[in-house]
Symmetry: C2
């Protein structure tokens, strides 16, 4: 692309380093910014800088937070005997959107993945174990990806703390609600048959 | 969406004001920025601020430029008796990419559009006329959108300066190269038949 200005070219190359933003989109955004007024630019820049300078990680659960302890950990309306273990803060947002969980969270900041060179020590697993030992926890719910890495991670954590008197559970896996069986992938369908649920238990919900 | 932090929420709302960026993409970008290192953030912020503070509009053709006169207007390798009239700086980039035009440009910064409240005085039409009167120009090439607004704009400019001894032309319209006729829209096809070109002239190219 022939970009008529070094300043614009530099901005396009910076913006296109963001995930999912190609050169064309970056150019469109840059040209939009050129035409934006000063206060809009200032607001955008300030909010970006603030992300880096002011945003904190909750000292307890590693959720993103404006203060040292996040709103969920601070709240006394939540059941602090339940901990839902997730990979990423996005998973917290997804689960919070369902309004079906009233416990606390623990963000691992990833999952064990030897291929990507991520071992247990890169994650907040030790912090989870310390947290469990120091507080009365009734149940640990694993809400990790339904992948080899997710399963490895939950198994690793389970093995580390299975001696404690805690209930362990993992979120249900099977055919997505609303899915037609003919479009469900084979592995999910096969597992759904193997792990079938007694109808009495199913129809109670 | 349940965003766990005011700072993050503010960044998401600022980023999602950019064109073509929805809330989900904005959240993805914001979370990426949270994890980016300080120098990357600084580079991004600097390049955005620079777009607004340092980027100039060429005093002659209104192309974007790092200095008062853009590289195209400055160049003495270009034919300064040809002016290609375009709506937007993106059109200059597109035409420059073809490497088929060696003249100068004039950016109107839009097209006449009564519906959007854009009249001739909002565009750089008077500046184009002044430019033509002050310099020896042989040909004006209209490279505007093939729409009602584009046609109105070129006709308005033509009427204003048709008394000058200048050749006027407009870029060719017809079936796109590589297109199958069955997929070409009716209006383009109808116009292509009406405005057919003598074969001898066509096969010369």
């Amino acid at each position: 692309m022939n970009i008529p200005s070094k300043i614009l070219e530099n901005a396009v190359s910076e913006i296109s380093r963001l995930p999912g933003i190609g050169k064309s989109t970056a150019l469109r955004l840059a040209l939009h910014l050129v035409k934006s007024n000063s206060s809009d630019i200032k607001d955008l820049v300030k909010s970006i800088e603030s992300l880096h300078n002011n945003l904190k990680s909750c000292n307890i659960c590693y959720n993103l937070s404006d203060s040292d302890i996040c709103d969920i950990c601070k709240s006394n309306l939540r059941d602090d005997s339940l901990i839902c273990v997730v990979e990423d803060i996005r998973d917290i947002m997804a689960i919070e959107n369902t309004s079906q969980f009233n416990g606390l969270y623990h963000v691992l900041n990833g999952k064990i993945s030897p291929i990507e060179g991520i071992g247990p020590s890169e994650l907040t697993i030790q912090e989870l174990i310390d947290r469990i030992k120091n507080k009365k926890i009734k149940e640990i719910i694993f809400a990790l990806s339904a992948t080899m890495e997710g399963d490895t991670t939950s198994y690793y954590i389970y093995k580390k703390i299975s001696n404690l008197n805690i209930k362990f559970s993992t979120i249900a896996r099977g055919v997505s609600i609303g899915d037609n069986l003919e479009y469900t992938d084979e592995i999910t369908l096969a597992r759904s048959i193997l792990k079938r649920v007694p109808y009495e238990q199913f129809s109670k919900d």
